[in-house]
Structures are given as C-alpha cells and as structure tokens.
C-alpha cells in the first residue's frame, strides 16, 4: 500500500486562453507509505492546497492543467497499481472518496447547510456501495459514534446546530466512512481553537493507528506538523524546499526558508526571552517568485548570493547510504 507522486507539474493560468501561466506545482516528488503521516508545510500562496487538490484531480479545470507526472496508488482492496492521471472521468469517481479521501479546510462551508448531517454521510455510502438505506444509516451512525459524536441523536441534526469542532469531526467521519487507504487533510485545524484542534489531531492519530492508512496532512503551522507527522515537506512557491524526518527537520533545519519559519515563532521553552523583536521574513510571496531562472525564495532570503540566480535542483543528503534529507539550496553543503 503506497502513494507515489513522481515529477508532478501543474500549471495555473490567469485566463482560459492559457497564457500568462505559472507552475503552482513544479516537478514534485512525494511518497506516502502505509500508516504514515506526511505533512506539507508552507505559507498561504505556496501551492500546498492546490497540490492536495491536484492529487485527486480536483484542481479547477478551466484555468489549470496537470502537464506532466504520475500519481500511482496501490491499495489493499485493489489488486493492481492505478495511475490517477491516466484514469477516465468515470473511473475517477471510484477513486475519489473510495481509495483517496479528503478533509477540507473549513468545516463551516464544506457541509451542505440545508441537508441533515446523517443524510450527507449516507449519500456518500450509497453513491459508492450497493447497500440498502438502512445499512447505510447504521454505518453512518457507527462512524459518528467513533468520532465521539452521539450518532443516534445527531443523525438528524443540521450543520448549524453543531459547533466548529463537531462539524470538523463530521467531515472526518464522512471522509472515513468508505474506508479509504489514503486521506488528504487540508488544514483541518486552522478554523478551530487550541483545545478542539487538539481533539481533532488526536482523532486523526487514532484513525492512523486503527486503520493503518496513509495521511497527507497540509498545514501552515510547524507546531501542528510536528505533533502529527513522521515526515515533513516544506513548500515554497510550488517547490519542495526541504524534506525529511519531522523531528530532525525542526531541530536541525538546513534551508534558509525553514530556518526563517522556525525563528519567527515565539517559543514556550523555559530559556526563551519574551518581549524581544521577533525574526521576520521580509516582504511576502508574490507571483514573481514563481518565475524560472533563480531560486524561488531568492527575494526574501537572508543568505542569498549570485550563485542563487539559476534553477536550483533538489539535492539529497545521505547518512550511511540512506537518504535522510532533501534540500533545494546551493548554499547548503552539508547538514
């Protein structure tokens, strides 16, 4: 069971005539194994959500297209490997929700406000499986129960009757109800506060342990990434800047962007001095950062030099023959 993304490039165009295009995902490589949580970290506009949508080919079709690459998934329930990019539209329906499922960012807008939550879940079951309405309802109730929601009494509730955290748990129940082998979670905790987001993170952890599925966790918060994931990919302007073991990456970041991200967060550790000026990354992500012929982080980097003015390849660092870290920076010679 594995999900493998090779050389995925997605173009986003300003208009439907396909000119004025940028690569929002630029030759991305990513693998997720069984029972592994991989997080994608980056600021808004770095193309991380777009990447998540592209995995299921949910990217807006009129203005964007996947120009190259392959997305291979291998599932227990499926006997052979599938390349999502080669599927016909009708075959794609069997993958979305069934093999690879998605939790969206904002639970307030991604549930249908005029439909009872129970019906929304059973709708998903009936669309994919040949079961009776009664059986579908039973499954829905049991999944709601497993999300710590009283399934029986909440089956007939409308989304507005639930709190934000409960809505997000309904979204997770809906995503899990078809027992997919991969889950893409697109900032599931951003709209929630600390205590409820902790509950949701714990739930995702439980699901991973119980059903042993692979999770791609998209977030902008390194703290969240650290608490859920095994490996982390740091995104900037549609490219992977650095990737590796999460704990290792946070304790010993190599790429200047990762370093800046970590330095700009205040810490709760006991030796931290409050009230000092925080480290900042100057400027903000612009369209120019997506252009070719220079490092994409060039304009905001504190380490920039002349050698950065060319396309930078992703270089691998190995430890005892095993690749431990990928870094896209010419200045980094060793870890």
């Amino acid at each position: 069971m594995s999900l493998e993304i090779n050389n995925l490039t997605v173009e986003l165009c300003a208009d439907k005539h396909n000119d004025n295009c940028i690569n929002v995902a630029d030759s991305l490589f990513l693998t997720v194994d069984e029972g592994e949580v991989v997080s994608i970290v980056g600021e808004s506009g770095s193309g991380k959500s777009f990447f998540g949508l592209s995995i299921l080919r949910l990217n807006p079709p009129r203005i964007s297209k996947i120009t190259s690459g392959e997305i291979k998934i291998k599932c227990k329930s499926q006997d052979k490997e599938i390349d999502i990019l080669k599927l016909k539209p009708e075959e794609l329906m069997g993958v979305r929700g069934r093999l690879v499922s998605m939790i969206f960012q904002d639970p307030n807008t991604s549930l249908n406000p005029v439909m009872k939550i129970g019906e929304q879940i059973t709708e998903a079951i009936i669309a994919h499986k040949k079961v009776s309405k009664k059986e579908a309802k039973d499954t829905a109730v049991s999944y709601l129960n497993s999300m710590n929601i009283d399934g029986k009494s909440r089956f007939g509730s409308y989304p507005y009757e639930l709190s934000g955290g409960m809505r997000q748990r309904v979204m997770i129940a809906m995503a899990m109800v078809l027992e997919p082998c991969f889950l893409i979670a697109d900032e599931p905790t951003t709209a929630l506060d600390v205590t409820t987001s902790l509950q949701v993170l714990k739930l995702i952890e439980d699901i991973r342990e119980k059903s042993n599925i692979g999770v791609i966790f998209i977030t902008h918060d390194l703290t969240v990434a650290r608490s859920v994931s095994d490996r982390t990919y740091v995104f900037y302007a549609g490219q992977v800047m650095e990737s590796g073991n999460t704990e290792d990456l946070i304790n010993n970041p190599a790429h200047p962007y990762t370093v800046s991200l970590i330095k700009s967060v205040p810490s709760l550790s006991s030796d931290y001095v409050p009230k000092q000026r925080l480290f900042t990354i100057p400027g903000f992500l612009t369209k120019d950062d997506f252009s070719k012929g220079k490092c994409r982080f060039y304009s905001r980097c504190f380490k920039k030099g002349e050698e950065c003015l060319r396309d930078i390849p992703l270089s691998s660092f190995t430890d005892g023959g095993k690749s431990v870290r990928d870094v896209r920076c010419v200045k980094v010679k060793n870890l």
Binding site: D193, L198, R226, K275, I281
Partner: protein
C-alpha cells in the same frame, strides 16, 4: 483611585435570554460574561485567554459599548464609561483591532477613506479630499506601508498589508486603550511576526495599553505583562505572565498550558 489604572471593570455581567421552543413559558439564561472584575494598568499588555465560547469576545464588546451590559461597572481612568457622553470622547480613547483583515475592511472604500474616516468623524481633520489623503499618508507611514497604496482598494492588498491598514485605522485617533481581538490568527507565521513586532514598537512609541485577546499561549508568553484566564464567562486566574507560566494555580490554567506545551517545540538556537 489609583492613577495608573486605565480601565477598571467590576462585577461585569452579560446574560442572554432565550426561549428553547416557540411555546416555552420560561426564559433560559446564558451567562456569557458572569461577574468579571479586573484592572488594566497604563502601558500594560493585558492578555485574555480562553477557548471559543468562554466570553472573550462578549467582554470586548461590553468594553466597547457594542452591547448592553446586564450588571456591573466599567470605569475608564476613574470615570464611569458611558459612550453616550459626547464630551468625554470615550470612542476616541478606546479602539479595537479586529481578527480577520479580510472582512473588517469595507471592500467598496479606498484605503485612504478607510483610514481617515474615524478622524473625520471625531473632528480631527476636515472632510476634504486633500486633508484626508495627507492624513492617510502619514498614518500609513506610521505602520510601515508605502503611501502609494492610499488610493487602492482592500482587495489589492495582501493579508499582512490589510492588517496594517486596520492598525493604522484604529491608531488614527490616538487611542489610549487598544483591544486586540486575535490580531494574527488569520495570518501566516512569517507575516504574523511582522505584525507582532509592529504592535510592540507602536506600544513603546505611543505609550498605549493593550487588551490582547487570544487563544495562543505562545503569543501571551511573548507579549503580555499579565494574563487573565477565562472559562465559561468567569475569570479563573489573573497572574503575572512569568508566574502564570512557571506556577499556574488554577487547574484549568494547568490543562491549558499542558496542552500547549505538548504541541510546542523547544526552539533550536539558530
């Protein structure tokens, strides 16, 4: 009355009444804020922490006079806070910075109009185009923005720029107390560091007091002088920031700190 106290709240309550069903005879009561008392000192950053629904936002609404209080007293520099008293200009002295810079700026108004409106309304400047432009340019410079954006619309700006415009707007009338309602929770890590630095600089330069409403304890630790923990409309603990993090007394504060530190990482020295 202590000279150093800028805002004094005593026994403040806000109860909402509602009927459970259409034919309910008795009204049910939700105590959003229930008997809250605290003082805010001059030049102090006073943090209010708590989870969603604990009454943080209702508290800020009560201080701003945006909702009627059920009982209790609020004093501003020793005088009872009454927004209908036009002579005292309380509106000018207490301002708020909203959480979401994407919905708190009017999309139909140009930036210079947004920034200069409170000043025009309070009679600081005349409502002439040139006056408003000059005023806005000066305010924009204060918060580190170029004056060229004065005739742009909010949608042309990034999230960080918009929050700076929001700051410029509430500082334009030179308030003495500023309520910050989750000022950076809608922003990216790199941008939020810029905004926090700016807020700290402005506080030093202008000598204001902040009431900093947040759920992020990292920011509290970084900025605040004193912390107030709210739960279910009541205050659980008020303490100096240092004492609060080193030795929290209330069990709820302990859970709050534990849940944050379990997630947070010890930052490597870079």
């Amino acid at each position: 009355m202590d000279e150093n106290i800028i805002l004094s709240v005593s026994g403040l309550s806000k109860h909402y009444k509602y009927y459970k069903t259409l034919f309910d005879i008795r009204k049910n009561v939700i105590k959003a804020v229930d008997g809250v008392s605290f003082d805010v000192f001059k030049n102090e950053i006073f943090a209010v922490v708590g989870e969603t629904g604990c009454g943080k936002s209702t508290l800020s609404k009560l201080i701003l006079g945006l909702t009627e209080k059920t009982s209790g007293e609020i004093y501003f520099k020793g005088e009872p806070l009454d927004y209908s008293n036009k002579k005292k200009d309380f509106r000018k002295k207490i301002q708020i910075l909203f959480q979401d810079p994407y919905s708190s700026l009017n999309p139909k108004k140009k930036i210079y109009k947004i920034i200069s409106y409170p000043a025009v309304k309070n009679g600081i400047i005349k409502s002439r185009h040139k006056d408003r432009m000059d005023f806005a340019a000066e305010q924009l410079k204060n918060v580190g923005l170029s004056e060229n954006i004065a005739s742009n619309y909010p949608h042309m700006l990034s999230g960080g720029q918009r929050q700076r415009v929001g700051i410029a707007r509430c500082l334009s009338v030179q308030p003495e107390l500023l309520i910050l309602d989750e000022p950076v929770s809608a922003l990216d890590v790199s941008i939020s560091a810029q905004i926090l630095n700016l807020l700290m600089d402005l506080q030093k330069r202008n000598g204001m007091s902040y009431i900093f409403i947040t759920h992020d304890l990292k920011l509290v630790r970084h900025l605040a002088d004193r912390v107030c923990v709210m739960y279910g409309g009541k205050i659980m603990e008020i303490a100096k920031t240092e004492d609060f993090f080193n030795a929290p007394v209330h069990s709820y504060s302990k859970t709050l700190i534990e849940s944050m530190t379990s997630m947070s990482f010890t930052r490597p020295n870079l």
